[in-house]
């Protein structure tokens, strides 16, 4: 496993380097792993990296890019749009010469068309947004502040909003509302039933089940070698 970087486009035409976790031995099958988003990215990081280790063991190169404004990125998340993440994914696909893509949950919102690969439990942007808005309403209520979803959404679209500890720009919120998982005959959806166990992104406390990484990697590597 190594830490590599890829050139990620900046608004205005320049590019910044973002990190990516890489298992790269110049093998034929090369998978770009597009991470889950926001809180789910934290809950699923362990599963994601463990799945990559197994793919590496199965003879497949794989790459997990940091999206602008997340992990090691120096970009300010509050100035980032979903569209920037889509451009980052395209740039990473090109840079690493990916043959396939594995998108985890909200990662499925970021894919350009024409790719082959897998979507693990894809989710609509509106669902992610709804849960984050609800969490904010509940946390505020506990602090004695009454907020409504409608009012928060209006404010968020106008000036951006902090939700679940993430500073989201107005554009990020607007594009999340409209964001739908990619659909393509060459993209296979992997539902949780196939992976087995319980969905780790729902877990109140981050947890790991190695058997889920085994199952996910098995499905993907079988497809890659088919």
């Amino acid at each position: 496993m190594s830490s590599e970087s890829y050139p990620c486009p900046l608004p205005g035409g320049a590019a910044a380097h973002e990190y990516a976790l890489a298992f790269d031995q110049g093998r034929k099958a090369r998978i770009l792993v597009v991470p889950a988003l926001f809180d789910e990215a934290n809950k699923l990081r362990h599963l994601t990296v463990e799945t990559m280790r197994r793919l590496h063991g199965a003879g497949i190169d794989c790459f997990l890019p940091d999206l602008p404004g997340t992990n090691e990125s120096l970009r300010d998340l509050a100035a980032v749009e979903l569209e920037d993440w889509r451009m980052a994914v395209e740039a990473a696909l090109r840079h690493f010469g990916a043959t396939h893509v594995l998108a985890i949950r909200g990662g499925a919102l970021l894919l350009p068309s024409g790719l082959s690969g897998w979507l693990y439990a894809p989710v609509k942007g509106a669902s992610l947004l709804k849960t984050m808005l609800r969490a904010r309403i509940l946390a505020s209520r506990e602090a004695g502040i009454e907020e409504t979803g409608e009012e928060l959404l209006e404010r968020g679209l106008a000036t951006g909003l902090e939700l679940a500890g993430f500073a989201l720009s107005g554009e990020m919120i607007r594009q999340l509302q409209a964001g739908k998982p990619a659909e393509d005959m060459r993209l296979t959806v992997i539902e949780q039933e196939l992976v087995g166990g319980r969905p780790l992104w729902l877990r109140a406390e981050p947890d790991h089940e190695p058997a889920q990484a085994d199952a996910l990697a098995a499905v993907v590597s079988m497809g890659c070698n088919a």
């Binding site: 669902s127 849960t131 609800r134 946390a139 729902l202 877990r203 109140a204 947890d207």
Partner: protein, 87 residues
């Protein structure tokens, strides 16, 4: 015999709280959810209600979500069943 709502709700709680099959089976109407499940933060509670909407095919207003609902398993189940009947 348990109702469909009861079975689904147990499954959702198991997913959110990482409870084992046995722990989920042991939930009774009087089982306190907040007291027994201290790790429920606002993100987990929000996720719980969003999952209930998806899997029970109901719609829940944010202002319906309050601490009383999570007082006991029985309270949450009664809420879910009333919602499904009204749907």
């Amino acid at each position: 015999m348990r109702s469909d709502t009861d079975r689904k709700l147990r499954r959702i709680l198991s997913d959110v709280l990482g409870l084992s099959e046995d722990q989920v089976e042991e939930l009774t109407p009087d089982t306190g959810l907040f007291g027994h499940l201290p790790e429920l933060d606002s993100m987990a509670v929000a996720g719980l209600f969003t999952e209930m909407e998806d899997r029970l095919d109901i719609s829940i207003d944010d202002d319906e979500i309050d601490a009383d609902l999570l007082e006991t398993y029985g309270a949450l189940l009664a809420f879910a069943e009333a919602k499904r009947e009204a749907a």
